[in-house]
């Protein structure tokens, strides 16, 4: 091993066996049920004798959570691992942190690994905050002296001085998470493995956590492996990125490049960004005539929706059913029903294009101003005299992913509002300039 490499994985694979219950097993008679139970008992006893684990279900399936993954990580690198749910990210971290063993392949690790796969591992609800700091710290691999030395720092970071001697079961969930993260943040391993733990706590605290992560990754020069769905955080914190897809490593390199690849693969993964058929949508306000056919909301080139990136809303409708100039509008709302913005043809300049001769209306939003989260869209179509000929209030829910809106690496927080504005700061009175 070259001295600079701290983790070297070769053909790493992990197999799980899961059981399925076949859908056809509807036993008609008592005899069938008894027969089947007897058969099951026999099979399980056989498993017990052979020392095999008990798996419920009639058919067994092998699932490769990881397949032939090879990579090298150098000293001081901060690696962001991205991929969809079930791509094998957590399995990879579990192998690297020695929780589970690979089925095939080999990893060589140089240096002590601390893993943070969950916030507050081993916290005991009956114990006080003070006691849990010692408990959790030891579980994460700190020595008693280390914890003692950092105790005040931890308490400071968590902002729980007043409740140090209260059992943590009386803590609010915010306090609990803060304390848990505070302990973890003071770990000093050579290699730190972190799984999506920043997605907890309130926005202010999240910011603090990211700051701490930045400290560990950039200033202290430790090797960090970091799984996240927060692309902005990966882009900002990491010096390289890994992309996992169905258990395989499909990309490694410059983080922004990997993120780009990941986001642009959005339409391949599922039908999440496909055309939403609204022809038979039940919840609509109309006079028995269904005009709207479908809606699509996606990023540029069919990518997922990302804050600050272009977004395209495409509405398809039956042009034959509108006999004059069509008027379209859509409104975006939060899940709580708070309207954020609307956009209607009625307000904009009429051009030959807005006659939508083909029954396809596409709206380009240059820079999606929505903060990360889930929203609903409602659509209406009609004419000048009858603007709501067909109106679908809750046509579709979509998710907006986070990104670095202002290009500064500062992660936007949702408690500062739902929309971002394009604005800038100046040291002169703008009114005076003009």
């Amino acid at each position: 091993m070259i001295s600079d490499i701290v983790i070297k994985a070769e053909n790493l694979s992990k197999k799980y066996i899961i059981g399925h219950k076949s859908a056809t097993d509807s036993y008609a008679t008592l005899r069938d049920v008894l027969m089947n139970n007897a058969k099951n008992l026999w099979n399980k006893t056989r498993d017990l004798v052979k020392g095999k684990p008990v798996i419920y279900g009639d058919t067994l399936e092998e699932v490769w959570a990881l397949k032939d993954v090879s990579f090298e990580i150098h000293q001081g690198e901060a690696v962001g691992i991205i991929g969809r749910n079930g791509a094998g990210k957590s399995t990879l971290l579990k192998i690297l942190s020695r929780i589970t063993e690979p089925s095939t392949g080999r990893v060589a690790i140089k240096g002590r690994v601390a893993s943070l796969l969950e916030v507050g591992t081993g916290f005991h609800p009956e114990l006080t905050g003070r006691e849990n700091i010692y408990l959790n710290g030891t579980i994460l691999g700190m020595t008693r002296q280390e914890i003692k030395r950092k105790f005040d720092e931890i308490v400071d970071f968590a902002e729980i001085e007043k409740y140090l001697d209260t059992p943590v079961k009386r803590y609010s969930s915010g306090m609990y998470v803060r304390l848990a993260f505070a302990v973890a943040a003071h770990l000093e391993p050579e290699i730190l493995v972190v799984d999506e733990v920043l997605a907890v706590g309130d926005a202010t605290f999240q910011k603090k956590c990211l700051g701490k992560m930045e400290d560990v990754a950039k200033r202290q020069g430790r090797t960090v492996l970091f799984v996240s769905h927060n692309m902005a955080a990966v882009s900002h914190l990491c010096s390289s990125g890994f992309r996992l897809e169905d258990g395989r490593l499909t990309g490694a390199g410059e983080p922004n490049h990997i993120i780009e690849e990941y986001l642009s693969s959005g339409n391949k993964g599922g039908n999440k960004y496909d055309v939403i058929d609204l022809t038979h949508h039940k919840n609509r306000i109309c006079n028995g005539v269904h005009v709207i056919k479908s809606i699509t909301i996606k990023g540029y080139k069919a990518r997922p929706l990302v804050t600050g990136q272009p977004a395209i809303v495409t509405i398809r409708f039956d042009r034959q059913k509108i006999n004059s100039h069509p008027e379209l509008a859509f409104t975006v709302e939060t899940l709580l029903g708070q309207r954020i913005f609307s956009f209607a043809t009625y307000w904009t300049k009429r051009t030959p294009e807005t006659d939508f001769a083909e029954g396809v209306a596409s709206c380009l939003i240059q820079k999606l101003p929505l903060s990360p989260g889930v929203y609903t869209i409602n659509v209406a179509i009609g004419t000048n005299d009858d603007p709501f000929r067909d109106h679908i209030p809750n046509a579709y829910q979509f998710e907006v992913m986070s990104s670095d809106y202002y290009g500064t690496g500062k992660i936007p927080e949702s408690n500062h509002g739902v929309v971002f504005i394009d604005a800038s700061w100046h040291d002169k009175d703008q009114m005076a300039i003009e």
Partner: protein, 283 residues
């Protein structure tokens, strides 16, 4: 790089491979001694939280069992005591190691499934968990030891020099529970059936072990066979230490108990280490 530095460099590299057993397993265990202490301390400090009489439970349970046994076996069945020792004292001298053994066994065998969250989220030598569970049982034992002292004062019974050897038998009781405890803890991860088997075994064991009666009640030709139960040796040892000359150790049986305890520990550790790496996947 000189030879020593190169060697140290090699040693610091950790290789993870299927089926690979760690070279430094026991040395590693020593490095995790802090965790062992913390887990034991956690179990003890939460044991009687939110109970009214708290730690008194550790005294009450063996005390009540002792009273019942003295009445049933001593008064009603009129079984003989060891020498001239008071019957209640003889029962309690066995009650102590029996509760130590049975508590240690049930605590350690259910310890892994009680710590699922730890096993799935952090690495440490798993054997620490069942071992830390033994400490809880031992603390309970020390507390109920107070009753023994109280009883000795009450009966004005002065123990002989043998009492000095009692710590050895305490360790023996713990070792006797460690072997099966480890094995069942590992099995429990895969097959939860053992969760129901253990309470039954413990209850059953209380009656087949010489707790309520002296092991002299067992006739000579069956004595060796009876000693197949490793707890028999431990209990006899306890009685010998506490009651002094009133009680004797049946040596062939005691040796057999020792051998069996050793075998169980070997089996327990062997089975445990063999399955240890799959715990996180199965639990």
């Amino acid at each position: 790089m000189n030879g020593i530095a190169a060697k140290r460099f090699q040693e610091s590299i950790l290789i993870l491979e299927p089926g690979r057993s760690e070279k430094n397993y026991w040395a590693d265990l020593w490095r995790y001694r802090d965790l062992f202490l913390v887990l034991a301390w956690r179990d003890i400090s939460v044991r009687y939280k939110q109970t009214i009489i708290g730690i008194l439970w550790a005294i009450l349970r063996p005390l009540l069992t002792m009273i019942v046994f003295t009445i049933i076996f001593g008064r009603i069945a009129r079984l003989p005591s060891d020498g001239n020792a008071p019957y209640a004292l003889m029962v309690f001298a066995a009650m102590l190691p029996w509760s130590l053994f049975s508590n240690a066994l049930s605590e350690s065998s259910s310890s892994l499934i009680g710590n699922t969250n730890l096993i799935g989220k952090v690495y440490f030598p798993r054997i620490i968990i069942p071992m830390a569970a033994l400490v809880t049982a031992f603390i309970d034992f020390l507390i109920s030891f107070i009753i023994l002292i109280g009883m000795m004062v009450y009966y004005q019974f002065i123990p002989g020099w043998q009492i000095m050897l009692l710590p050895l038998f305490m360790i023996l009781a713990l070792l006797a529970s460690l072997g099966p405890g480890l094995w069942i803890a590992a099995l429990n991860v895969k097959y939860r059936d053992f969760r129901y088997i253990i309470p039954f075994v413990v209850q059953f064991g209380l009656y087949i072990s010489p707790v309520g009666f002296s092991s002299k009640v067992i006739s000579e030709e069956w004595r060796l066979l009876y000693s197949l139960n490793p707890v028999v040796g431990v209990i006899d040892g306890f009685r010998w230490c506490i009651l002094g000359n009133e009680s004797t150790i049946y040596l062939p049986g005691f040796t057999l108990s020792l051998v069996l305890i050793g075998f169980w520990i070997w089996l327990g550790i062997h089975r445990f280490r063999k399955t240890e790496k799959t715990f996180a996947d199965l639990i």
